[in-house]
């Protein structure tokens, strides 16, 4: 199983309906268990790339998740494999209570109610939110909301976590807590961010994007040390 890469992208291009080219010939392989940071300036195409990883957007080229090509017929399978955490937790938390939000994924997968309970409890515990399950997202702090958004995906038991700007808007302590949490999780992680310190702390590998293309891919320390390269691409 370890031979199959978690994510395999080849020749991926995507244009938004208004004609703007967002991705341009992306080739990328992410191994199982790897924690990869995707960095780039605003508008480099990071978020668009993430939306391809579980089939919300489908451009030209192929995306494979654990060997299965993403297409219309296996979306459910793909979404069990790759869980996406959006940048703004207010978009991710849409239910009246935190419990319902975290249970949303497992219930969509038709898990029996007892199993749903178990997974929700476990995910909330991992995220350090035990006891808050009957709160409304509106009553949580920004840091709690970010972790809650992560919990909504953890409860789905996905093997890949795809995170869009996990540390944006967080104060230093909430940020440290979130990074510590992510470090402890064994899942394959793909993190899109322009928080370079986060990448340095969390990721072993870095992919640098600019204008819809991958311009550098390698060890985190090599790329993060190369100031000229980063500055050239808006970081």
């Amino acid at each position: 199983m370890n031979d199959v890469p978690a994510i395999e992208i080849s020749g991926l291009s995507y244009r938004y309906p208004d004609g703007t080219s967002a991705l341009n010939g992306i080739d990328l392989i992410i191994k199982t268990g790897e924690k990869a940071g995707i960095i780039g300036a605003n508008g480099a195409g990071k978020s668009t790339l993430l939306l391809h990883l579980n089939g919300i957007l489908r451009g030209e080229g192929t995306v494979r998740v654990f060997g299965a090509a993403v297409n219309r017929s296996n979306l459910n399978l793909i979404r069990r494999g790759a869980g996406l955490v959006f940048q703004n937790p207010d978009d991710q938390l849409f239910c009246p209570t935190l419990f319902d939000d975290v249970a949303f994924g497992p219930r969509n997968m038709k898990a029996p109610e007892q199993e749903v309970m178990r997974r929700v409890t476990h995910a909330l515990q991992l995220a350090g939110l035990d006891g808050l399950d009957h709160k409304s997202a509106f009553h949580l702090s920004v840091g709690q909301k970010k972790r809650a958004a992560l919990a909504t995906v953890l409860s789905m038991d996905t093997r890949i976590l795809v995170l869009d700007e996990p540390t944006s808007n967080l104060d230093p302590r909430a940020r440290r807590e979130l990074i510590a949490l992510l470090k402890d999780l064994a899942e394959t992680q793909v993190v899109a961010t322009h928080d370079l310190a986060l990448v340095r702390d969390l990721c072993s590998r870095v992919v640098l994007m600019d204008r819809g293309k991958i311009v550098a891919d390698g060890q985190a320390r090599d790329i993060l040390e190369d100031r000229a390269l980063l500055e050239q691409h808006g970081l």
């Binding site: 979404r79 996406l84 959006f86 239910c95 009246p96 969509n108 509106f138």
Partner: protein, 257 residues
Amino acid sequence: MNVSPLRTQAVPVSSFLGRVDPRTKLICLVFAVVVCVTTPPDRFAAFAGYFGALALLMIIARLPFKAVLGPVFVIMPFVLLCAAFVPFIHPDTSGGGYSLGIGRLWVSRSGLLLLWNVAAKAIFGVLCIALLVHSTSFPDLLRGLDALRFPRLGVMLAGFVYRYVFVLTDEVLRMKRARDSRGYQGRWLWQTAVVGRMVGTLFLRSYERGERVYLAMLARGFESRMPLSEHAQLRAADYGFLFVVVTVFLGIRVIAL
């Protein structure tokens, strides 16, 4: 982020009424209101009984009187505005009006009864609803409606409104602050255009948020049908509560007939 004054909502008191299943409470509410509304207005003893029962419930459940009675004062002006003139213009059919001694101003007895009828029943209904919302959290209420087979789309919509109304009011407040910080006074006619643009911006932002929420739902396996949550069985205490409420209200209604 959280700047809305609406944020501090009433938190249900942890009393026995708070532990009664929301389904039971909803059924009791509808039952009590129907019984009250169908009572002829001249059965004053019955109305005394209904209000007495509500007061007793409020005391046993240790609900804050002030908070529960608040909504009554909100609706009173409307009720009075509608009904206060009736005694003066409603002609008596069976005679027995009262002269006020000021010129030809008369108050008709049946008109007074009509005013009493509208006011008492409206207040009773509002009190019942206030009791319900002060002893039930909104998510519980939604769950109760869902369990009672209320159309799921309606329950879903109410849930989204509950979730996002505060997010939206926060956004409005932030926008207003940003606007006022740049010297807006709202004094001249041409400045009204600013308000229009703000409403437009708010609409577009909400529309875009709707799309992002939908993406977040898709990402967690949403397939155009809200997943079912299982509902707990009603306990003996819930049936007991229902039985007591039905007996008391029906009893008062029958005795006062």
